[in-house]
């Protein structure tokens, strides 16, 4: 993990991208896109989080894949919690 050096400029670039995406998500929130609004907000948030994980937390370029597996596993089980709970709530009124 500790063996990669990235230039400051690159970090600044990522930081700037994150700031721009923050602006985009705020702007998008004021446009009526119907059901797409939350989708876009979450999509942008996910992109931002991915950038932080990959470049600030150095998962990209890490000497081993294990870190990536750990991160993906974490979000995978979170997804299980959310999706299977929703499987109940979204179908309660069915039939």
């Amino acid at each position: 993990m500790s063996e990669h050096v990235t230039s400051r400029r690159f970090y600044l670039l990522i930081g700037a991208t994150l700031l721009i995406l923050t602006g985009v998500t705020v702007a998008a929130a004021f446009v009526n896109l119907g059901p797409l609004n939350p989708v876009i907000a979450l999509l942008i948030a996910t992109i931002k989080a991915t950038l932080v994980v990959l470049f600030f937390m150095h998962v990209k370029g890490a000497s081993e894949k294990l870190t990536g597996v750990v991160v993906v596993a974490g979000f995978f089980f979170l997804a299980i919690l959310l999706s299977l709970s929703l499987a109940d709530y979204l179908t309660r009124s069915w039939r």
Binding site: M1, S2, V5, T6, R8, Y11, L12, I14, G15, L18, L19, T22, T25, V26, A29, F30, V31, N32, L33, N37, P38, A41, L42, I44, A45, K48, A49, V52, V53, F56, M57, E64, L66, T67, V70, V71, A73, G74, F75, F77, L78, L81, L82, S85, L86, Y89, L90
Partner: protein, 234 residues
């Protein structure tokens, strides 16, 4: 057993190498994996709150929208910017540690702490406003019937708005708690860095504290749109 039992040969390699590891590489990798696993527990910890939020937001969408609109989007966006900048200063600090540049390391650490305190300060202002507006869940809670731009009342049950604020306080409160812990952690590490504890060969604590800080940032990256940006359009 304590570290004092480590043999002379191993201690010679690096004073920070603990007795049960074969070499620094193994020790650093272990610490890093341990930290990542801890971050996963943090994700699941917040996951419970996100799950509650998701379900109630689907159940009571209009109320959540109306309640969300009372939040100050400027302060929220400002805090997002603050945290992103602090994440940049953290990577700079880690880089400085990697280069063995003590002065830069301390400078960036201090900067990070200041940004963290700024975030908490803004959060405090927001909380204060909630108290004034009676938006804190409990017996004093009040939520006036909001109106949309056409002057049409938005159908909102105060109970459901209260639920939004309950989750708002639970989530941002838990996040703020993590920020406070982060600031404390960084303060300790700054002092240690100043004393020259960390070198280009050994700066694992800085790296791991950085990971923690980034995770707290990521959680905010999700909290911001979820709490502040619900149906802002009219």
């Amino acid at each position: 057993m304590s570290d004092s039992h480590a043999t002379a040969v191993e201690t010679a390699a690096n004073p920070e190498l603990r007795h049960h590891f074969a070499d620094m590489q193994q020790q650093t990798n272990s610490a890093s994996l341990g930290m990542w696993l801890f971050l996963v527990t943090e994700i699941m910890f917040f996951g419970g709150l996100f799950c509650a939020y998701l379900i109630y937001r689907l159940m009571y969408f209009p109320a959540f929208g109306a309640a969300s609109q009372t939040l100050d989007i400027k302060l929220g966006a400002f805090n997002t910017v603050v945290l992103i900048v602090s994440s940049v200063t953290v990577v700079f600090a880690v880089r400085a540690a990697h280069d063995g540049n003590r002065k830069q390391l301390v400078a960036y650490m201090v900067l990070t702490i200041l940004l963290g305190l700024t975030f908490l300060g803004v959060k405090a202002i927001e909380y204060k406003e909630k108290f004034e507006k009676h938006h804190v869940p409990g017996p004093t809670f009040a939520f006036d019937k909001p109106f949309d731009d056409n002057g049409k009342a938005i159908p909102v049950d105060p109970h459901n708005a209260q639920l939004f604020f309950a989750l708002y306080f639970a989530m941002t409160g838990m996040h703020a708690l993590h920020m406070i812990i982060g600031c404390g952690l960084f303060t300790v590490l700054t002092v240690l860095s100043w004393k020259g504890r960390y070198t280009a060969q050994y700066y694992t604590p800085i790296e791991n504290a950085g990971l923690y800080w980034h995770l707290v940032d990521i959680i905010w990256i999700f909290l911001f749109p979820l709490l502040y940006l619900i149906s802002r359009h009219s």
